[in-house]
């Protein structure tokens, strides 16, 4: 016998379920009076330096239906490519119960440590057994040296990580959970 390594195994994930909003965005589902406001409404203060942008999107399932019960979290650097301080750069959005759309107004992130400007995303919902990590890059930026994008051998898969420029500082980023055009999900 040898000495035990002694590491603890990570706790197993379980689906966020259909009622994730009660815990994560209670005001969004009409549970008022417990928290002043939902966490992650504003990723940056109003006077933060950088270009204000608005990103909208949906998360679609394998039959093409938009998830109206999804929760998406965002983590990004500021305009100078720096993370933080505190919770600055963090946002959380629940999709609209009718349309499945989410919308985030934020600052366009700067490039970070050799990577093209991007936002880290984490997606949870009923039917998703472990939160899905992915990234949002911006159409029009130079992605030629981005280490992650360069690892993806299929050009059409790479495009699933690039938000479309829809003009005037607005961007579109749809996530496909399964099937044709399945978004690249990460294990990092």
């Amino acid at each position: 016998m040898v000495q035990p390594l002694g590491y603890l195994p990570e706790s197993a994930s379980q689906t966020a379920g259909p009622y994730v909003h009660i815990g994560c965005t209670p005001n969004f589902v009409g549970i008022h009076g417990i928290y002043d406001q939902d966490l992650g409404l504003e990723p940056f203060p109003k006077d933060a330096k950088g270009q204000r942008i608005t990103i909208t999107g949906v998360v679609r399932d394998g039959v093409g239906k938009s998830l109206n019960d999804v929760l998406v979290e965002f983590w990004q650097a500021d305009a100078d490519g720096k993370y933080g301080p505190g919770a600055q750069g963090f946002a959380r959005r629940a999709s609209n119960f009718d349309t499945g759309e989410w919308e985030l107004t934020t600052i366009k992130p700067g490039a970070v440590a050799g990577m093209a400007p991007h936002i880290g995303l984490w997606v949870v919902a009923r039917g998703i057994n472990i939160g899905l990590q992915t990234r949002l890059y911006f159409e029009g930026d130079d992605h030629s040296k981005d280490p992650l994008l360069n690892r993806l051998e299929h050009q059409n898969r790479r495009n699933t990580l690039i938000a479309k420029d829809t003009g005037n500082g607005t961007w579109r980023f749809d996530i496909q959970l399964q099937g044709e055009g399945e978004t690249v999900f990460l294990d990092m």
């Binding site: 195994p9 197993a12 549970i31 394998g62 280490p147």
Partner: protein, 236 residues
């Protein structure tokens, strides 16, 4: 500090046909693996000013009048895989009321709403990773999946460790609940030992006489390693 790779064997599979919602919502292509970067190694840091006085008391935090149900303390530690406590972890919880009903427009279960139960709470872990909540024991509830599927009593947990790459949502189950091993959502986890680690034991040492019972639920997040070799100077 570098996040250790996630051991997917500790987790549920994405496609688990017994849990029907996972069928159209599970990615079918392989995850793209890579070493964590600054985006995964950093994460939001929440301050104590975020947390209100009653945020971790689900019995009282909705109206100030006590919720109906079996009073319990849920406590434990947030640790990482090296066994170190994770301080300042934001722990958010949500649950059904004592009858198994959620305060949510999509929950139409027969059991009544409790006017004094909102169903959510949050806290920040202490320096040693410890946390606690006061709540009522949630009821089991039926859900549309198989013909007669029931969720065991459970509390949903969302945990922010020190980095975005440690992000975890899970559920806590209660020792002795016969529904645990009949639940298709629990069964998405292939490893029985990993399931057992989500079952909180009754903890009579923390129960308050003539007041409430207690359950202990430890949560382990991905580990961080730090070695001299990772921090070596250029050329060494």
């Amino acid at each position: 500090m570098t996040l250790m790779p996630r051991n997917r064997a500790n987790h549920p599979v994405a496609y688990a046909p017994g849990y029907k919602s996972s069928v159209p919502r599970s990615p079918r292509l392989a995850l793209i693996a890579g070493s964590p970067t600054a985006t995964e190694q950093t994460g939001p840091v929440f301050g104590h000013e975020l947390i209100g006085k009653l945020d971790n008391n689900l019995i009282l935090n909705f109206t100030g009048e006590p919720a109906i149900g079996e009073r319990i303390i849920v406590h434990g530690r947030v640790m990482d895989e090296t066994g170190r406590g994770v301080p300042n972890a934001l722990v958010e919880v949500w649950q059904a009321n004592a009858g198994g009903r959620y305060r949510h427009k999509k929950d139409g279960y027969l059991a009544p709403l409790d006017p004094n139960f909102g169903g959510c709470g949050r806290t920040l872990s202490a320096q040693d990773g410890s946390y606690e909540f006061m709540t009522i024991r949630p009821g089991a509830y039926p859900w549309p999946n198989g013909v007669n599927d029931w969720r065991p009593m459970h509390i949903h947990f969302s945990v922010f460790g020190a980095s975005f790459g440690q992000r975890l949502i899970t559920q806590m189950y209660f020792e002795g609940d016969p529904l645990i091993y009949r639940c298709p959502i629990v069964a998405t986890i292939p490893d029985k030992a990993a399931v057992d680690r989500l079952v909180a034991p009754l903890d009579m040492n923390r129960a308050l006489p003539l007041d409430c019972l207690a359950y202990k639920f430890d949560i382990v997040l991905r580990g961080n390693r730090q070695t001299m070799f990772e921090n070596r100077m250029e050329g060494l």
